[in-house]
């Protein structure tokens, strides 16, 4: 569960606030997709949830960030790895460089938090199975594809058993195949984790996210279900977000907002229904 209350962030030496008075709540087991144009504050928000702000990045944090009853801003980053995990954009930069095999890479975080060997081996095995990398476990992390590396990053983080996951645009550096691989993992992870996903792949959110958070210029424009937000043409336009094709088509046919569907199969009925 993620509870954000009146969150405002100002970077050192910045003139303006990067996040302004954000408040929202994500229930356990839900997935929130965070969308918005470049520099709207998405990465800043991610870094608040896993404690990088204010304990690593030089920025002032006002308000409260609470994840599973842990007050994030007062915690040491190295101690909340079992509470919140984060996946970054660039798969190559998440490889530690310390491990010579994929399974060692997954074990890296566990070694750091002092997990006993038997438990470690079990967790590594489970994590690799979850992301379907068990077959590659003896390969060198530098010799696998981008999509596989990102799945490796996911395995390395979930092996530390955080209940909450934050993913900051995890597919922007991947090819379409890699992107599909990651979104498949997200479908699996959704079952028992709370997930906050920053993404530009608007179409992929449909059918996956429970809620969508729209950020614009550091402010929270909207927080609602995908069917309410992604059909709101004007809202998306204002926030500079790419309009899903299915919505664009209906908008051009002047379908009223409350009748717009996100389901491609229903498209034909909605359009033909309206033109009668």
């Amino acid at each position: 569960m993620i509870e954000i209350k009146n969150l405002s962030v100002k970077y050192k030496n910045a003139e303006n606030y990067s996040l302004k008075n954000i408040s929202f709540k994500v229930n356990t087991g839900e997935m929130v997709a965070v969308i918005g144009r470049l520099n709207s504050g998405k990465t800043t928000l991610c870094q608040c949830i896993n404690g990088l702000i204010p304990n690593f990045v030089e920025a002032k944090l006002e308000g409260s960030v609470i994840v599973d009853n842990v007050n994030i801003k007062d915690s040491k980053i190295s101690e909340i790895s079992s509470t919140v995990g984060m996946i970054l954009e660039n798969p190559l930069l998440q490889i530690s460089g310390y491990a010579v095999t994929v399974e060692e890479e997954v074990a890296f975080g566990l070694e750091n938090i002092g997990i006993k060997k038997d438990e470690m081996k079990r967790r590594v095995k489970d994590a690799l199975n979850l992301v379907d990398l068990d077959g590659l476990k003896y390969k060198n992390p530098f010799e696998i594809s981008g999509g596989q590396q990102q799945r490796l990053a996911i395995a390395s983080i979930i092996a530390m058993n955080p209940k909450t996951l934050v993913l900051d645009d995890p597919t922007s550096q991947l090819d379409p195949l890699g992107t599909d691989e990651v979104f498949n993992e997200l479908k699996k992870l959704k079952k028992n984790k709370t997930i906050l996903l920053v993404t530009q792949k608007i179409e992929k959110i449909i059918g996956l996210a429970d809620k969508v958070l729209v950020l614009n210029n550091g402010e929270m424009l909207a927080y609602d279900t995908p069917s309410k937000i992604l059909t709101d043409y004007d809202l998306l336009k204002k926030a500079g977000i790419k309009i899903p094709l299915v919505v664009k088509i209906q908008h051009e046919k002047r379908i009223p907002k409350n009748k717009i569907t996100l389901v491609v199969k229903e498209l034909k009925e909605v359009i033909t229904g309206e033109s009668h």
Partner: protein
Amino acid sequence: MSNFWKKIVSEFTSYAWILLVVGIGINWVGGFIAQSLKLPIWLDSVGTMIVAVLAGPWVGALSGALTNIVKAVTFDPVGAPYALTQLAIGLAVGYAYKNKILGKKSSVVQLLGVSFLVAIISTLVSAPITVYLYGGVTGGGIDVLTAMIFGTTDGSMGGLLTAVFGAELLGDLLDKTASILILFGIMKLLPDKYFKTGAASSKKR
């Protein structure tokens, strides 16, 4: 004394450790490029110097020292003792930067002065290593020069030391001056944000 130790330890933030690794890489790549361009100088301490500036003298020193250690365990064991030389270079450059003698706005005189200082310190550390451990030889072209100078001395160990010192100093003057000038160019080209060494340190660890 413990205040001094605390200052040294405080240089080693999480970011500093990663910069340290980057420094080793830059030393290595620098040496590689110099070899590929067939330059008469080594240019294998530029990484040590950059890290000394960005993260502090002791991080730079360790970065340089570990460069030789990594080389030693992968292919070049003989270079291991010269880790001390890199250590000295890191400290010299780092403290020159801290005392504002070396910086983005240094004058030509200051740059040459620092180059001279670093070259002398570097030779002061490496010459005794070459003489007392390796009998005066390095396997490089410098040995020819050393032999020539040695012939004019009295032939004692002191004479050998003088010969090695003289020959290595010549090489170091060229190499360190070029390295410092390159460092200066790099400092001017790097955006300001990289210089905020406190910027990315984990305050609570």
